[in-house]
């Protein structure tokens, strides 16, 4: 109902082409045309809109007027050339599309130009890159980051690029047409973004929100830009505030780009809400909730300076504004590497299965420092969580021949474990596994200068094989030299390359080593997150019991 009203109002108001809302939400396909994907991710931040000029009307070619399965009428009907935009990524098709809810669907977004005229409107490169293929009716441009943009149905006669040519953002490619080889289609641009996604491979991702953002920038609104300040890029937090003078009470979004400005393919963008109470803003702005605070990512705590650019969103869809004092420089001392052994994360597929985030969870260290840490068995490709049929309250991670206790819902959450996917095993099967150390409070990854990513972990000792296992301290233990805190005795290592600290410690602290402690939540001193405060396997974790009671568990087949 709301949607119909919205569409009707937009159609009624002339000149709303540059206003919000000009688009329906992502995943909101026409009724009975498949299951859309409510994907808000902007997969190509900073991209340029693929038509040289607006307006443009992304919507279905198959289910709108004149389409194969659409209402009567023609493809040039005015309704096809009107707002609001309509997502048609994942629209009903019969072919594999692994990221679509149905596993099948339409690969990209169909876009109509300003008018229903062929060979008139210019298609341009959305990002700089290399022309990697030109087919009978397609042009592929691949960026230096490996992201591929596909432009379909341009007129062959109007192509102005060649294979292997380098093109700049906004460079003309071809004119919008109805070319589909020997057959023709409606006059439109079929636009894809194809990229390599960990866990899946090369797939088409939703281009919808990238188109929305780039269209906002293309059309502009001429309203007042957002304002604010990037106060500091501190190691405790990156802080600042932002407000849109056109909507002073509204909460705005802020995008922080780590490692370069918006549009730099190597920059990592993170979005935060500027919604935090800041007493110092109340008087000045007449409104208090405009602050933002972001944790400094572990992967950038390497002693080097990293540029951080902050941009506030315009509440009416205008161009984002870089905040005063942006860029900041984030420079944090390398943290102490927790004791333990390193386990290779064997592939991006495994990384995805474990739900790790290299950006937030990785300590970067000199290769020599990494090499000095004992290498253990490779990390298993995906986590396997089980409970026994006589004790559904105690969740275990099956780690090769070991079972390791997941001590609390907080630990499970920190690892991203899906407690709804816990398997139930016969108690005898579970007890046949050797009891290892509890799962650490939170994952910490480690990377040297090479591409290999490791997870830091406790080495697991098989009591029957301890004599031949150099990483096991003494016979009869299931863990490698753990003290009663659950941490290894001895060595923590500074990620900055300092020497190994061989003094025994009860917990990791900044003062006992070259580097500072890890940020809160990484299981170090003061977190209350080390192994000593958690219930052991024989001591049921009451919160976990309740959670499992609610979730139920799947019985092993």
């Amino acid at each position: 109902m709301k949607r119909r009203l919205l569409a009707a109002m937009i159609v009624l108001v002339p000149g709303v082409a540059t206003a919000e809302p000009f688009y329906l939400p992502p995943g909101d396909l026409l009724p009975d045309t498949g299951t859309g994907l409510a994907e808000y991710t902007v997969f190509a931040p900073g991209m340029r809109f693929p038509l040289e000029v607006g307006p443009a009307y992304p919507n279905s070619q198959v289910y709108m007027n004149g389409g194969l399965f659409g209402p009567p009428g023609g493809q040039c009907d005015a309704v096809n050339y009107s707002y609001p935009w309509r997502d048609n990524y994942c629209e009903k098709r019969q072919w594999d599309m692994p990221l679509c809810p149905a596993g099948i669907g339409h690969q990209g977004q169909d876009i109509r130009g300003p008018t229903c005229e062929k060979d008139k409107h210019q298609i341009v490169a959305t990002a700089a890159g290399q022309v990697t293929n030109i087919g009978s009716y397609s042009i592929y441009v691949t960026t230096p980051a490996g992201q591929r943009f596909d432009y379909l149905h341009g007129s062959l006669d109007t192509i102005v690029v060649s294979i292997n040519q380098q093109v700049a953002t906004g460079a003309p490619l071809v004119k919008l047409s109805d070319n589909m080889g020997d057959t023709s289609t409606s006059i439109h641009l079929h636009f894809n973004i194809k990229q390599d996604v960990a866990g899946v491979g090369s797939v088409y991702v939703s281009p919808y929100m990238s188109l929305v953002r780039s269209y906002e920038e293309l059309m502009g609104l001429g309203n007042k830009p957002p304002t604010g300040n990037f106060d500091q890029a501190g190691c405790a937090a990156l802080t600042g505030w932002a407000q849109d003078p056109d909507a002073p009470e509204a909460v705005v979004l802020v995008d922080l780009y780590f490692g370069g400005p918006k549009g730099d393919p190597n920059a990592v963008p993170v979005q935060v809400l500027a919604d935090r109470q800041r007493d110092d803003l109340c008087m000045a702005l007449g409104s208090c909730n405009h602050g933002f605070e972001l944790e400094a990512p572990l992967s950038l705590r390497d002693g080097s300076a990293h540029a951080v650019h902050a941009y506030a969103h315009d509440s009416e869809g205008g161009e984002q504004a870089e905040l005063p004092l942006s860029p900041g420089q984030l420079q944090c001392e390398a943290p102490t590497i927790p004791a333990g052994a390193r386990r290779w994360v064997i592939s991006p597929e495994s990384l995805a299965a474990w739900k790790f985030s290299p950006f937030w969870q990785t300590i970067r260290a000199p290769q020599a420092t990494v090499d000095a840490i004992p290498q253990d068995r490779d990390l298993i490709p995906a986590p396997i969580l089980v409970v026994s049929d006589v004790d559904p309250a105690t969740v275990w991670l099956v780690d090769q021949t070991f079972r390791r206790h997941v001590a609390s819902p907080e630990v499970a959450a920190a690892w991203g474990f899906d407690l709804a996917a816990v398997e139930t095993w016969p108690a005898a099967d579970l007890e046949a596994l050797i009891e290892g150390t509890p799962v650490r409070p939170q994952p910490v990854l480690l990377q040297g200068t090479g591409p290999e990513l490791y997870m830091l972990d406790d080495h697991q000792c098989d009591p029957a094989a301890t004599a031949v296992d150099p990483l096991c301290a003494e016979a009869g233990t299931a863990t490698a030299g753990l003290d009663d805190t659950g941490m290894n005795e001895g060595g923590q290592i500074s990620a900055s390359g300092g020497s190994t600290d061989t003094q025994a410690t009860d917990s990791v602290s900044a003062s006992s080593s070259d580097g500072p402690a890890l940020p809160p939540g990484y299981g170090q001193d003061g977190d209350g997150a080390c192994g000593c405060t958690q219930p052991g396997p024989s001591e049921p974790a009451l919160p976990l019991l309740g959670l499992l009671g609610l979730l139920g568990v799947r019985r092993r087949r």
Binding site: K2, L5, L6, V13, G15, A19, E20, Y23, P25, P26, A38, T41, P45, W95, D96, G108, Q130, T132, N133, G135, S136, S138, Y140, P144, L152, I163, M180, G181, T183, H190, K194, D196, V197, A198, G199, V200, G201, S202, Y204, A237, T239, V268, V270, Q271, L273, R276, E293, L294, E295, A296, S347, P348, E349, S350, A353, S357, P358, F359, P451, E452
Partner: protein, 215 residues
């Protein structure tokens, strides 16, 4: 309440009065960000926000044995294409069928620092049919996307087959690298762009070298 006179604001204001949230993109996104940061009653710790476009990780190629290089096919490649193959940071697969190779080009990406880039792209043409292979060593980790296995068998592994406005496309992971092959015909319904033709093209790729290939 004072409204400005712009049509945009009139629409926005009308929607607000009627209980509609005009910020159509903000719902789930904002809720997710709020959950990440705010805790009622106490000063929340700095949040992690939301990684906007995922995060990039590097695939480590598992190089095939040098003995598996198809030297006959390799020798048929034009010299400049062979040179591009030899600097590829991932194993290069090309069509064995010589009719593809006459008009084949290979582009090997370079990183901004001049080092190895994301992989390679091959473009080949045979009459009115275009074949494109792309191989990537730079993957994006996306929140909420775990390990999705394809339901088709391609080159002995699980993969995906799809059609993109008539362009047949296959995707699979081999040697630790994400490969895709697109087959595009002037006649999208023609036999040269059938499912069988796509499978044949995928199965017909052979290994011809790369930086770690020792050719």
């Amino acid at each position: 309440m004072v409204f400005s006179s712009s049509p945009a604001r009139l629409v926005t204001a009308a929607l607000l009065v009627l209980g509609c949230d005009p910020a159509v993109d903000a719902g789930p996104q904002r809720a997710e960000l709020r959950e990440a940061g705010a805790t009622p009653g106490s000063r929340p710790a700095p949040g992690r926000g939301r990684l906007l476009a995922g995060e990039r990780v590097v695939r480590i190629p598992r190089w095939p044995a040098t003995s598996t290089i198809d030297h006959a096919v390799r020798e048929r490649l034009p010299a400049e294409t062979r040179a591009a193959v030899d600097v590829s940071p991932v194993p290069v697969l090309v069509p064995a069928d010589p009719t593809w190779l006459a008009r084949a080009t290979v582009f090997t990406a370079r990183g901004q620092d001049g080092g190895p880039g994301w992989g390679y792209a091959l473009s080949a043409r045979r009459g009115e049919v275009t074949l494109a292979v792309q191989a990537s060593r730079i993957a994006t980790v996306l929140v909420g996307v775990g390990h999705l296995r394809g339901n088709k068998r391609l080159r002995g592994v699980d993969g995906f087959l799809s059609v993109n406005d008539g362009i047949r496309t296959a995707a699979w992971i081999e040697h630790g690298i994400a490969y895709s092959l697109d087959l595009e015909c002037r006649d999208p319904e023609g036999p040269e762009c059938s499912d069988d033709a796509l499978r044949e093209a995928v199965e017909g790729l052979v290994y011809v070298g790369g930086l770690g290939g020792g050719a």
